[in-house]
Symmetry: C2
Subunit: 331 residues, 2 copies
């Protein structure tokens, strides 16, 4: 039997190249080998965006389009909308009894996010407990593998703790041990070179960018501010076109030669930007095309979401039934 993967995104904005190299690319590769569930986590996004649910709702379809654009195949992967699988809320409720408040307070990922978002004394209870909801998502599909960034590993530990506690308390073995699948590619930097690519920092290249938008963004990429004339020696570290070439250029030998040339002087930024633009355009063009195809028939996209969600519901309902049987709360 195929192993099960659960993966997904919070629909809070269009997906960008950072998502692609960090995760989407991998999903396309894995979907034939694994039984892959792709969750559009709108309910989880609301724990953060509850003041603007419209924003989340709008992005659900956009994220679905991004998935289809990169080549996630609805015949191989089950794409579904979290809020439309009510069994997940019920599982969350029961799992909440198996985690202490103190344990949530110690969760490093949660701690970081609370600090980053500057929540302090106004942490919504829904946000504070989202690791439990995330565990419910994973356990509902009895996932074996969850692709995550390194910073998300504590979430997988939390999930396994809940599963083990459930097994121990209710003398059962219904869940699989979940393994984090840490991506090999680190986080892609943004075009400003300052931080990782992110919508909120305005430094992202979106999978849906037009050729013109892409060109503008590549031209705006941060290079070496001290590299004033072509003949000047330049610094490669933090040079965004080089960072991108490291990730996207298949010809690593040529990239190394270019770096050497740049260091000793005589290589202009324009050449490098042209090279990376061509590579990115070649990467994005087929996505853009697929995206346009699907966008013409949103009824079909909705049908993909509807049938994916239905399939996901059936699986989650079976797990919920197993959970309730194990707990003996069947009437």
């Amino acid at each position: 039997m195929k192993k099960i993967i659960l993966t997904g995104d919070r629909p809070t904005g269009p997906l960008h190249l950072g998502h692609y190299v960090g995760s989407l690319q991998n999903r396309v590769k894995l979907q034939s080998e694994y039984n892959q569930y792709v969750l559009i986590a709108d309910a989880q996004a609301l724990t953060d965006y509850y003041e603007n649910p419209e924003h989340v709702r709008k992005n659900v379809e956009q994220v679905a389009l991004d998935y289809l654009a990169v080549g996630i195949d609805p015949k191989q992967s089950t794409i579904f909308i979290q809020s439309q699988v009510p069994e997940l809320f019920e599982l969350t409720f029961y799992f909440m009894n198996l985690v202490t408040v103190a344990r949530l307070e110690r969760n490093p990922t949660l701690k970081d996010e609370i600090r980053q978002k500057n929540m302090k004394d106004s942490i919504p209870a829904g946000f504070f407990t989202y690791p439990v909801s995330q565990a419910a998502d994973i356990l509902a599909f009895k996932a074996d593998l969850v692709p995550v960034g390194e910073d998300q590993q504590p979430m997988i530990e939390q999930t396994n703790e809940i599963a083990r506690r459930f097994h121990h308390l209710y003398k059962t073995e219904i869940f699989h041990d979940v393994k984090a699948m840490i991506g090999t590619t680190g986080r892609l930097t943004g075009i400003d070179g300052k931080a990782k690519m992110s919508k909120s920092l305005g430094n992202a290249i979106y999978l849906g960018d037009t050729p013109n938008e892409l060109k503008k963004k590549v031209n705006a990429m941060y290079t070496d501010p001290n590299h004033l004339k072509v003949e000047d020696p330049g610094t490669v570290e933090g040079h965004v076109p080089f960072t991108f070439l490291d990730v996207f250029d298949p010809n690593k030998t040529e990239v190394e030669a270019l770096k050497e040339h740049y260091r000793r002087g005589g290589l202009g930024d324009g050449v490098l930007k042209k090279r990376i633009l061509e590579i990115l355009e070649a990467e994005i063009a087929p996505m853009r095309q697929r995206r346009e195809q699907y966008a013409k028939d949103m009824g079909y996209v909705k049908e993909i979401l509807r049938s994916g969600t239905e399939a996901a519901r059936n699986v989650a309902a079976q797990t919920l039934s197993d959970v309730k049987k194990a707990m003996g709360i069947v009437y």
Copy 2:
């Protein structure tokens, strides 16, 4: 239109005379005047009894029998099982975003319970957030009134806060303002005279007690330990038969006369116990009879629960639909 009442109990044990005078009696009176929902809060009980769900499950039917025994009429009141109304979990999930962790930490009822149960650093997240789940129960039925003990009033405030925040954020007015209906009868003391009647203290008279059990408990009632001979003067304060006569004896003048007699000496405890036994037996006998009738046909009791739960689900589903529409998370 009739106003709506939500009331109920956690099915953690059989109901006793304390429940009767504090609440059940009132429900029987109110059911014709109000649209009354009676919740058997098994899911909430699990936030505390998650290590022993079987205990909760078993008590669901027992509590239903108690309801029917005291005269709650399934034709007038909607009796339902919380865990069988999944819409409540979904509402809880969305309401969790509208309450901060700090606000829950300040909830006086919750603080008291955490101290009483000596939970300290091992507060289950499900227990910590149960005020939100309780608010979901109340708001799901758009209740106007919730009969509570004085110590539960902060829960009503919490519920109204969530409703107001929901209205404000999502520009809607779907919930009613909830009022606490504080009972006139204080908490009934246990037969040991030390604390309020409670299953865990073993000082309770159950609504299902046999005549023999009732007699034994009345005989065991705490009186005045210094009242050794009948002719000795006695103390009325803390004297359990007198406490019960104050509550259950309709003839207050006679009770006052008896107290005076007891104080000056010459009145034996046996006389008082006999009097309260007769009154309690007259109160409990019809309950016992109704209980036996229903217990003979548990299929019928289950059918009452099934159809009550179905009716409750329809109402909760409508509210959930209103909530999702207001939030704009309809796909």
